[in-house]
Subunit: 190 residues, 2 copies
């Protein structure tokens, strides 16, 4: 792996574990096994490196979500697959956790990939709810964008519950709760 790659990957890990304010340039260099000169050769500084790291994390999250949302099955099954996909729940969401980082939120460039990714996710799921309504699987009375927001919020909030309790069980409970409510609107037999 090139030095530039190692710097990006180390920054991604540290942002996930420690957040932006908790990630010092020194810690990045130590984890990447790189010298200060190499960091400034490749990046303008911590914000520039963080931007590269956040963009890559956001792209990966999108690709992973699309893998299940664009997979086989009825609209209900695809949303269920997204909610149930394997996650390292206790680590939290590498994108969502950045919303609690005041320095990331205060910087329009750093916030943009976070906003765009969660926005894309909501729109993607809303589209699937629309498909379900058109096919008659979901009740026509459902507001697809609102249901999509509830789906994404349940995942993001599930991380909060799991981390608070120190167990993934709380995440799973929230997902099962939402699916039990959603399934009543799913008129197709699973």
């Amino acid at each position: 792996m090139s030095t530039s790659e190692r710097l990006i990957e180390s920054t991604r890990e540290l942002l996930w574990e420690r957040g932006y304010v908790g990630t010092s340039p020194k810690a990045i260099l130590e984890r990447a096994g790189a010298g200060q000169g190499s960091m400034y050769h490749h990046f303008k500084g911590k914000p520039d490196l963080a931007l590269a790291a956040i963009r890559r994390t956001a792209e990966e999250m999108r690709a992973t979500a699309e893998g299940v949302l664009g997979g086989p099955g009825t609209p209900y099954e695809r949303i269920a697959a997204y909610l149930r996909r394997e996650r390292d729940v206790l680590r939290g969401c590498p994108v969502g956790r950045l919303t609690m980082d005041p320095d990331v939120m205060a910087d329009a460039a750093l916030r943009a990939p976070v906003d765009e990714t969660l926005d894309w996710l909501r729109e993607r799921i809303a589209g699937i709810v629309e498909e379900g309504k058109a096919q008659g699987g979901f009740a026509a009375s459902l507001e697809s964008e609102e249901v999509a927001a509830a789906v994404v919020a349940t995942v993001q909030g599930g991380y909060v519950l799991a981390r608070a309790s120190g167990s993934p069980a709380a995440f799973d409970a929230g997902v099962r709760g939402l699916l039990s409510l959603l399934s009543a609107h799913n008129t197709r037999t699973e």
Copy 2:
């Protein structure tokens, strides 16, 4: 307000805005208008002061939630009132955001009030779903603890969506989405 009180209140604000790692003893003293000596007179240090601050924030959150959950109305209406209660959405949840703070999560004493509060909230809401099932308002097939986890997760994740997009609209959308799903299980006329 006493110096001790000012120190606790300043720490509460800073933890909410900046998180634990982003809150320096210096910043607390500046905001409280207190000297270093007074901090060490009243508290053993930053962790001790943070514990007092987190406990108070947790107690307030619990009292606010109980204010609506223990209020008038059917079980559905009380849960809806909790979801819709006025919130400073863009600031995030002062308790939930601490779950993304690695230093708080790594310290059993600091994590305890966060865990206990969210746990109490889930149990409280689960009890209300049970009431609804007993009264015939909610479908007997609902798992009350799972529905409660979905309710709390929607709120916590709603903050994430709102902060990412810079607008409370995403929070409100998630809440409306969840309520539309829940209302199908509510067999009483509102």
